[in-house]
Symmetry: none
Subunit: 225 residues, 2 copies
């Protein structure tokens, strides 16, 4: 993955700064929110690869934020907290937190736990390259080859194709695709999908008028084979 994006939701500017410096120097792209609601909006409009969530937020408890996130967000959410009561930890983990670290944390450990969480979340059948007939997708290098020839895809086209490839054979609903590629708040923009599936077909199908790889499931979504 090319620069995983991490969203920090924390009200303390100092901590955000500290995290930002550490994460960016380790090759992550960082987005920040100082309140829970701001964090939810940011996450919905552009889903990050991982979220660092503080429990002690001014506007809304982190537990609530976590619950709301988990209604649609299924990538890792790591909790950072000064609280270390067992009840807090258990509640967060049972509500879908991926991990729980108490402040002050050790940066090396935090980074290791982030690596671990991201590795696992990408581990959905992810052997770096996926091959489907004469189409090869290198998920590490982000290169797509058709009959050995590299194809030029835009960022969105690539993301869409990679998502299809990781779910070969399954029907992916419009909602799901939009949520994964554009974000939670784009669930109704099915026209985006039509446009991008169209351009993808032009690039990877033998005959775009009779697509074999990306087929339409009318009223439901698309399927990649």
């Amino acid at each position: 993955m090319n620069k995983a994006e991490i969203l920090i939701i924390d009200d303390e500017a100092q901590i955000r700064k500290l995290l930002q410096i550490n994460l960016e120097s380790n090759g992550y792209k960082v987005i920040q929110a100082s309140t829970g609601n701001e964090g939810l909006v940011l996450a919905a409009s552009h889903p990050p690869d991982l979220i660092l969530l503080d429990i002690g937020l001014p506007d809304k408890s982190g537990h609530e934020i976590l619950k709301e996130l988990r209604e649609w967000y299924n990538k890792p959410v790591l909790i950072l907290s000064v609280q270390d009561t067992e009840a807090d930890i258990v509640s967060a983990l049972d509500n879908g937190a991926t991990d729980y670290l108490t402040k002050p944390f050790r940066t090396g450990e935090l980074l290791a736990r982030i690596r671990s969480a991201i590795r696992r979340s990408q581990n959905t059948e992810n052997d770096s390259t996926i091959t489907c007939g004469d189409l090869e997708i290198d998920l590490i290098a982000r290169i797509v080859k058709l009959k050995g020839e590299a194809i030029k895809l835009t960022a969105t086209e690539y993301n869409l194709l990679a998502l299809f490839a990781k779910n070969e054979g399954k029907v992916l609903t419009h909602q799901y695709l939009l949520k994964e590629i554009w974000g939670y708040s784009y669930q109704t923009e099915t026209q985006y999908l039509r446009v991008f599936v169209g351009t993808l077909r032009k690039k990877i199908e033998e005959n775009p008028n009779n697509p074999q790889r990306i087929t339409t499931e009318s009223g439901v979504g698309y399927r990649f084979q």
Copy 2:
């Protein structure tokens, strides 16, 4: 899931006992090993759903055990250790540990982290397919196969068939079917059902004039077998 199995690899009998009692009272099945090699053998001969691994083992370091395990075992491995140096934690996590807890640990937290790890590992492996004779319905991939051949169904046809399959053998009333597929306000549109049961029969019945799979219960509804 039917009683998840947990393998404990730890040389201290007291800790094993403590873990055993706690885990068993929470519905897990427990297997124990007091040395690293014994643990590897047990894991290989009967792979558990999760492994609790102590780092300070007499025969082999837990780090080594972890590496050997990870060559083939990809379910959760939680590390328990008296060591809490950052280097230890980072090394374990980077070698594929799912989580790392330092002794003494809090049982509630440990149980929550176990639940969390198991939940996540199960999320990636669900293929619920219903099989009725030579008809297969994959509810995740949304694929229907008859004698191994995929059949093309429209969204409504598929929904109807899936609903039948989930209620195999039962008579489903017109009202119920209409309510489930079209919605509450369509309960009187029984003609819809006739049309769609008709098209379904054409696609999945050997002889649509003498249906065996979807049979008519006159005046009541339909039954799927």
